[in-house]
């Protein structure tokens, strides 16, 4: 029976007992004068994190999740782009990229063929703080995928032909970034904020000059130096049991020996912005101006993590945030506007931004500065309560899937977060007070000391930007932002 005919039958039956005819309002309309009260919150019961070790000391964190017959297994190495040697930005990234381009006895094509055939999803990546190899696979095929996974982590071949091929891909990717206004803005902002001598001033994937220079020896040495069991952990989330998976991992990773364990040097804390300045990157004909405004933020280890999270939710971290409401809902200058703290091992950026229509660039900047100033002066108790609820009560949706939980466990390992932090997350948010929010807004958001990066049609926006007197204005070219080709 089709949906339509089923509906018709239901209607017929109800009509026969005197329910209002179609188009009329039912007699028992509910009380819509106020939103219905919320029931008691049902607590989130996360399955326990089981901490194990392999015989070589490699920590293994396991969360059993038996809803779907899949498993997520990530090897995480506590060294990412922040560990790139001086003058070689992008080395961690390209090393991670090459891991599955030939490993053990298999070629790049053989690895891809076997994993695809198993329906396995294997990804290698390097971020600022860590490198990782992540495997998502139906549990019934985990055993078959595991030896390939271990080869990729432990025995990459770094064949020169594969390096040269991936190098071309990287160089093209860097070239294509110059087409994307949002990417140009982000790279220009990092340049302006950190300078090109600080690692955070250049993208994770590096520069053309560095990428052209990488040799097989660079990659092999980086891999040998930082892919160490003493510097790594395995996180496992899914439809497995801890003892069984420990035995499987022991076989695959138990023989991984520390060659010469060294903790990679930390990225130095960046110098805070002392005044205000603007960079404009000209992009003639742009329909919008990409805006980035920000300064140096704290590392992930900051004691202010929870107050900052609540404060940023109010400022630009949610749909009802002040920036979104102002720039989008009130003025219609943009499709969206937001702010964020990028928490890293060292001092990542705080940034607010939007893509605004070209002819509203000046007014949009004014509104950004209004909001960056206002958050330091007044925050209402109602805003704080709403933001705390939003962050705390939506937490279950951040730990729903095997991949979600695995990334939380990675965060725990990389940043040395205490056991039980996931269980106490909601309470930690709950402990934030309005005074905390006000204090961190004053401390971390200072609109007088920010860098501003704009990407847009210079001819149309420069005069009105200058008229705002925000600070000295410099015009930058793509070559200056991205480095020579």
């Amino acid at each position: 029976m089709s949906r339509e005919s089923r509906a018709a039958t239901a209607l017929l039956l109800l009509l026969s007992v005197g329910v209002p005819a179609p188009g009329q309002t039912a007699a028992s309309a509910p009380d819509r004068s106020k939103p219905p009260a919320l029931g008691p919150v049902r607590p989130l019961q996360l399955p326990p994190v089981q901490k194990l070790r392999l015989s070589n000391g490699l920590p293994v964190l396991v969360v059993e999740l038996h809803e779907v017959p899949v498993v997520q297994v990530n090897v995480v190495v506590r060294a990412g782009a922040g560990a790139d040697p001086r003058g070689k930005p992008g080395l961690a990234s390209i090393t991670a990229d090459l891991l599955d381009e030939g490993a053990g006895s298999r070629s790049a094509l053989a690895i891809a063929d076997e994993l695809d055939y198993l329906g396995a999803d294997l990804r290698t990546r390097a971020g600022w703080d860590a490198s990782a190899v992540a495997l998502h696979v139906p549990v019934k095929r985990f055993g078959a995928a595991l030896p390939i996974f271990a080869d990729v982590v432990l025995r990459p071949t770094f064949a020169v032909a594969e390096l040269d091929r991936v190098r071309k891909d990287r160089l093209t990717e860097l070239l294509q970034l110059r087409d994307e206004p949002s990417a140009i803005a982000s790279v220009a902002f990092a340049n302006a904020l950190y300078g090109r001598d600080h690692r955070y001033g250049v993208p994770v994937i590096g520069t053309e000059t560095a990428v052209r220079g990488f040799t097989r020896a660079d990659l092999a040495a980086f891999h040998e130096r930082v892919y160490q069991p003493g510097n790594s952990a395995i996180v496992v989330v899914g439809d497995v049991t801890a003892p069984a998976v420990q035995a499987q991992l022991e076989q695959a990773f138990g023989g991984w020996k520390a060659a010469n364990p060294r903790t990679p040097a930390a990225v130095p804390a960046a110098t805070q912005v002392r005044d205000r300045g603007i960079w404009i990157v000209d992009r003639p004909g742009s329909a919008q101006t990409e805006i980035r405004i920000g300064r140096i933020g704290p590392p992930r280890s900051t004691a202010d993590y929870f107050p900052l999270t609540v404060m940023n939710t109010i400022l630009g971290g949610s749909f009802t945030s002040r920036l979104m409401q102002n720039l989008r809902e009130q003025h219609g200058y943009a499709y969206g506007a937001r702010s964020s703290f990028d928490y890293r091992l060292s001092t990542g950026p705080f940034v607010a931004g939007a893509a605004v229509q070209t002819d509203k660039t000046g007014p949009a900047l004014t509104e950004f500065f209004n909001e960056l100033g206002a958050i330091r002066r007044t925050v209402t108790d109602a805003e704080v309560a709403k933001a705390k609820n939003y962050v705390a009560l939506s937490f279950p949706s951040e730990v729903e899937t095997t991949g979600d939980i695995a990334s939380k466990l990675e965060e725990q390992f990389v940043h040395g977060l205490p056991d039980g932090w996931l269980d106490s997350f909601v309470a930690s948010v709950g402990a934030v007070t309005a005074a905390d929010v006000k204090r961190v807004a004053e401390q971390y958001v200072d609109p007088a000391k920010v860098v501003i990066a704009l990407v847009g049609d210079r001819r149309k926006i420069e005069a009105e930007v200058r008229a705002l007197n925000l600070g000295p204005l410099k015009v930058r070219t793509a070559a200056e932002i991205f480095g020579p080709r």
Binding site: R3, A7, A10, L11, L14, V19, P20, P22, A26, S28, A29, P30, R32, P35, P36, L38, G39, P40, V41, R42, E67, V68, V70, L109, A112, D113, D116, Y117, G119, H136, R165, K168, D169, T172, Q176, R178, D179, G285, S286, A287, Q288, S318, F319, T320, E329, G332, Y333, A334, Y335, G336, V356, Q357, K386, N389, Y390, L393, S394, P396, S397, E400
Partner: protein
């Protein structure tokens, strides 16, 4: 555009990364279900039958309701599909279905402007909506104690939107949508192609001819009166399916749905939408210029509609051609010859027609004719000879894994609730998971070959070159 995730589905509340818009969402691959593993009878084969148990009922006003229990986390997904998309738009009002979607978040008869979001966020909930050619969907994912709040909000805008509508609200969201168009298309590399594709592929009398985002001119012309009429025509409960999935007690959830939706008046009957099967009667060669460094090629063919015979085979053709290092086009263009930066293929399925797309970006020093020639060779090969058994198995195994993987989330776009609604809309059967997977597992290599033969015709395709401004010589050459 069919299965419009490719270009124009607009996720309106959050930023979408560049990848999102460009992502070919293989609608038939992104699957969700709370899994019930029933013993299968395939002689010892470890095979699970996918099933998402549900209950279904219809209110007197015609609202179709589907409930599904999953207690993994204390979350509930409320997901409404209004069976109207851009295909229902009138000439001169392109982009209207999507503009209307924006207005659904701006308050309703008993919900002041802004409080839809304020109340949901205060309860720890998230929400969003999207529009494509065929339907408009809305969802709230909330902690399970806030289910009634979500139902109140969803029912209030279904029943009482116009009580709070005003020309000022229309003007406000018109500006936002214009900025969405600028951000997602005009100011994005190759965005110009995505504004043109549907127009080049579908004839003017077909309702997929115009882009979901619409033209600036038509967005300017949209009026408050249009909003009133569109709501009356298409936003009745009788044109809608509501899914409530997650941490629910089905008896209580049904009581709450009846409480909040029963007073919503039935709308006008919505006649089924039909269109002549679109035909591309020739090979069209078109060149566009854009502010980009490298040329990009789009090859397009019209293919069978969503869930119609051949639709699934074209999904597999896409995988054989361009998924993974060993896929035919990737291996030749990107791995061996290294003349392309990327290549992708996708079957973009819609109720009234589908579009099969192959896209590739040339590396520096290479033009699109060179790329097109290799693609043509590989397609000719696939038409001449069925794929190897292992190629087909590899593709189907990946599809099967994607089914499992997508079972993990209950809410949001592509979550279980959204998927139940999708199957209900396109097949009339919410729990179509096993049948959908079986569409792929039952294919043999000859099916794939014959689909390629039938649909990837040289004399009925679009060849669209997007080249850096002033470099038309990089385009695919004109027809001899």
């Amino acid at each position: 555009m069919p299965g419009a995730e490719v270009t124009f589905t607009a996720s309106d509340r959050k930023f979408i990364g560049l990848g999102e818009i460009m992502t070919r969402r293989f609608a038939s691959v992104l699957i969700a279900a709370a899994l019930v593993l029933a013993p299968a009878s395939l002689g010892g084969q470890e095979t699970a039958r996918l099933s998402v148990p549900y209950t279904q009922f219809t209110l007197a006003n015609g609202l179709d309701v589907i409930l599904h229990e999953d207690h993994t986390v204390p979350l509930v997904a409320v997901n409404a599909w209004y069976h109207v998309g851009s295909a229902r738009e009138k000439p001169g009002r392109t982009g209207f279905a999507h503009l209307f979607e924006h207005l659904m978040f701006e308050g309703s008869g008993h919900v002041p402007e802004g409080d839809f979001d304020n109340w949901l966020e205060a309860a720890g909930g998230d929400n969003n909506g999207s529009t494509d050619t065929d339907r408009t969907n809305y969802w709230e994912t909330v902690p399970s104690n806030a289910l009634e709040l979500a139902l109140f909000l969803e029912s209030d805008r279904m029943g009482y939107l116009l009580g709070a509508m005003s020309p000022e609200k229309v003007n406000g969201q018109r500006d936002v949508v214009k900025n969405e168009r600028r951000q997602s298309y005009e100011n994005r590399p190759y965005g110009v192609a995505f504004l043109k594709l549907s127009e080049l592929m579908f004839p003017p009398n077909h309702p997929y001819h115009w882009p979901v985002i619409g033209s600036m001119e038509d967005l300017t012309a949209a009026s408050y009166e249009d909003v009133v009429q569109f709501f009356k025509n298409y936003y009745g409960p009788n044109n809608t399916t509501l899914v409530v999935a997650g941490d629910i007690d089905p008896v209580e959830a049904r009581r709450l749905v009846e409480k909040w939706f029963s007073d919503v008046p039935r709308g006008a009957p919505v006649p089924p939408l039909s269109a002549p099967t679109p035909v591309l009667g020739e090979e069209k060669r078109v060149t566009l210029e854009d502010q980009v460094q490298l040329p990009q090629l789009f090859l397009g063919w019209l293919t069978p509609s969503y869930f119609h015979p051949g639709d699934e085979a074209m999904d597999v053709v896409a995988r054989v051609l361009a998924f993974g290092k060993n896929s035919r086009l990737y291996k030749r263009l990107v791995y061996d010859l290294q003349i392309a930066q990327d290549v992708s293929a996708s079957q973009n399925s819609g109720a009234l027609g589908s579009m099969f797309l192959v896209t590739a970006t040339a590396r520096e020093g290479h033009g699109l004719s060179e790329i097109e020639k290799v693609i043509a060779e590989e397609i000719t090969k696939l038409k001449a000879q069925p794929p190897e058994a292992r190629e087909l198995e590899r593709a189907v195994n990946q599809i099967e894994s994607a089914f499992y993987g997508a079972l993990e989330r209950v809410g949001g776009f592509g979550g279980k609730a959204d998927r139940l609604n999708l199957y209900e809309f396109y097949t009339g059967r919410p729990d179509y998971f096993a049948e959908d997977l079986a569409r792929y597992t039952s294919l043999d290599p000859l099916d794939v070959q014959s689909a390629a033969r039938a649909h990837l015709r040289d004399d009925a395709r679009l060849v669209l070159s997007v080249v850096p401004a002033g470099k038309k010589s990089l385009a695919v050459e004109k027809k001899p």
